[in-house]
């Protein structure tokens, strides 16, 4: 008997199916069983979802965690170190990752924040709808397509070399939608009364936005930026196409090769020699650690500084 049958029968024979045998909370056997089953399934689903998380973190920590405890890991590059030799560090890749992420943020944050301000504070009508729609497209753009696009412009059209800056251009495309959407959410949380109070005092609109609205939503905007940074740091596809790896420290965005953690992993991922394998997992552990720290920082900022209303 399905639940529907039970209810149908209950409506036909109200006296028979509602005998007070089991007290107030009595439920018929099959229904109670299904309820229990559903409860078990939900708990099992959550447990299943935790398996890959724990498994991945466990693999990365056991295989690469030890590398992080060596101080050379944080101070040396891989320059002159072959696959057979233990040693060297990841500082070149860490620096490259941070430089590219910061350069991306420098471009993406102003564009993203201003776009969000436009959407929330100014945008009405067709243009705003179009902007919102394009941000949606940008959200869904696969990173490899963004990379191909920059390749089409940077290398095919202009004939430039593949350098770190080209990578950051591709990453900007991926970071803008994250910043726009999170900033928009935060600006919407700012109570309208604050704006109106400001207008009532004769403050012009732009100053209201710059001095009242944005500061109120500031911590939320920072959270969005940090989460966006976390996303672009882990991106690998643009790096494969636009940012060749090198073993030495290189900090010039506009010339030469630029190593990053994802390309460092990619470089040696097919290696079988133990020192190289260890370094691959060490780089993976470092990358996850950096991204986790950014995520935690983002959450802390948003929890500590929710819009003061």
């Amino acid at each position: 008997m399905t639940a529907a049958d039970v209810t149908a029968e209950a409506s036909l024979n109200p006296t028979r199916s509602r005998e007070p045998t089991g007290g107030f909370d009595h439920r018929s056997g099959p229904r109670a069983l299904r309820d229990l089953l559903a409860r078990v399934v939900m708990w099992a689903a959550f447990a299943t979802a935790m398996v890959p998380l724990v498994w991945i973190l466990w693999s990365v920590i056991t295989k690469g965690g030890a590398m992080l405890l060596d101080s050379h890991w944080w101070t040396n590059s891989q320059r002159g170190i072959t696959n057979r030799v233990v040693g060297g560090g990841a500082v070149h890749a860490i620096e490259g990752t941070i430089i590219e992420a910061l350069a991306t943020a420098v471009m993406a944050v102003p564009i993203g924040v201003m776009t969000a301000i436009y959407l929330v504070e100014y945008g009405r009508g067709r243009l705003a709808k179009t902007v919102s729609f394009t941000v949606d497209i940008l959200t869904g753009i696969p990173s490899i397509v963004a990379a191909l696009f920059i390749y089409a412009i940077w290398v095919t059209t202009f004939g430039f070399q593949r350098v770190g800056f080209a990578v950051t251009l591709a990453l900007v495309l991926l970071m803008i939608p994250v910043v726009v959407r999170s900033t928009e959410e935060m600006l919407k949380l700012v109570p309208n009364e604050l704006r109106e109070a400001s207008y009532a005092l004769g403050v012009p609109k732009w100053k209201t936005i710059a001095r009242i609205v944005v500061p109120t939503a500031f911590s939320g905007i920072i959270t969005g930026v940090l989460l966006g940074l976390a996303r672009v740091m882990g991106e690998t596809a643009p790096l494969l196409i636009l940012g060749p790896y090198t073993k030495s420290i290189a900090t010039d965005l506009f010339g030469g090769l630029m190593p990053t953690l994802p390309t460092m992993i990619n470089q040696d991922r097919t290696e079988v020699l133990q020192p190289a394998v260890d370094r691959v997992w060490g780089a993976a552990a470092t990358l996850i650690l950096m991204i986790l720290l950014l995520n935690i920082a983002g959450r802390l900022v948003s929890r500590l500084g929710a819009p003061k209303t």
Partner: protein, 336 residues
């Protein structure tokens, strides 16, 4: 409204006088500061539109010359010869592998994601529900190359048993025939890894719509004597269905476009390999094809062939995301 749905304030309902939300001030004074500031904001927005338009235009402009020289049917051919003078390339293989791996991912991730979302919103004790949500979100923080590395070197070593079991049981179906590829590098392994990657997306959005179920509906179901599961079936799931659909679509968009994890795991086949429907086959998706050959973009026509593949991928994800958005829009009309 959740960020992940891509719902923007411009889409929200207008008040009776026809003003949008947060409007009604008309405080722009036409002063220099105001004009500069609104101009900058508008400029940034137009820049975003320009970028997206350029993506389409550039990919098209590079792909069309190559497509014009293509000697075989672009959609149905399985060949990919772009090295010589004679251009022969088609996407049938790429399309099949892309769709199959994403389909596997969705089959696993959607039911699991919905169940996890129900767990977080309906079943978890209060102290657990927030940490549980953060833990599932953590899955989204793992970089895709780490997923690839883990999928190939850790998960892959455990796929042998599953593969031989499925081959023994269902080997007579073309979908499950043995294709002679190591169990770590099959489409099935990729599908499983992709399902883990899209799980946080499906869960996050489903969770948000389930949490918005009107309490009155839920209480009404419980008051009529429904068990908790019956309440979920009659109140929460119908309410959340459009949200779940668009969550799945966003997840699908992610799975279709995932590059590096697929590139690392899936073993590319030699160009003359016979066609196989099997999930135990290797192959390449659109994204991994492009990534695998990134070093070879030396001539415009060669690059053009890959741009054409990228363009198809762009189109696919665009359609999927557009469907997600339409579904969410219609839900809004239903809710309000």
């Amino acid at each position: 409204m959740p960020t992940i749905t891509g719902v923007s304030s411009v889409d929200e309902l207008r008040d009776p006088e026809g003003h949008g939300p947060l409007q009604g001030d008309r405080a722009s004074t036409g002063r220099l500061g105001d004009r500069l500031f609104s101009g900058t904001a508008q400029g940034a927005s137009i820049l975003v539109i320009a970028i997206v338009t350029l993506v389409g235009v550039f990919l098209l402009s590079q792909a069309i010359p190559a497509l014009a020289k293509d000697k075989v049917n672009f959609l149905t051919s399985t060949q990919w010869n772009v090295d010589g003078k004679l251009l022969q390339f088609g996407i049938a293989n790429l399309l099949w592998v892309t769709v199959l791996s994403s389909a596997i991912a969705m089959v696993v991730a959607v039911p699991l994601g919905v169940a996890v979302a129900l767990f977080i919103t309906q079943y978890a004790p209060r102290w657990l529900s927030r940490p549980a949500a953060s833990l599932v979100d953590l899955l989204a923080a793992v970089p895709s190359i780490v997923y690839g590395l883990w999928g190939l070197q850790v998960l892959g070593t455990h796929m042998d048993g599953i593969q031989s079991f499925l081959v023994k049981l269902f080997g007579w179906i073309p979908l499950f025939e043995d294709a002679g590829i190591g169990a770590a590098s099959t489409i099935l392994t990729v599908g499983v890894v992709l399902s883990i990657m899209v799980l946080p997306i499906v869960t996050a959005l489903s969770r948000e719509v389930f949490a918005q179920t009107p309490t009155t509906n839920m209480e009404a179901a419980l008051a009529l004597g429904a068990t908790r599961w019956e309440m979920i079936r009659t109140a929460v799931l119908p309410f959340g269905k459009p949200g779940v659909i668009s969550a799945s679509m966003l997840g699908l968009g992610r799975a279709l476009g995932e590059t590096v994890a697929v590139t690392v795991i899936l073993s590319a086949l030699a160009s003359n390999t016979a066609w196989s429907w099997s999930v135990f086959n290797g192959g390449e998706t659109f994204a991994s094809k492009i990534a695998n050959n990134a070093a070879e973009f030396d001539s415009p026509q060669k690059a053009g062939a890959f741009m054409a593949a990228g363009l198809v991928l762009f189109g696919l994800t665009f359609v999927v995301n557009a469907v997600a958005r339409v579904v969410i829009e219609r839900r809004k009309a239903f809710v309000e």
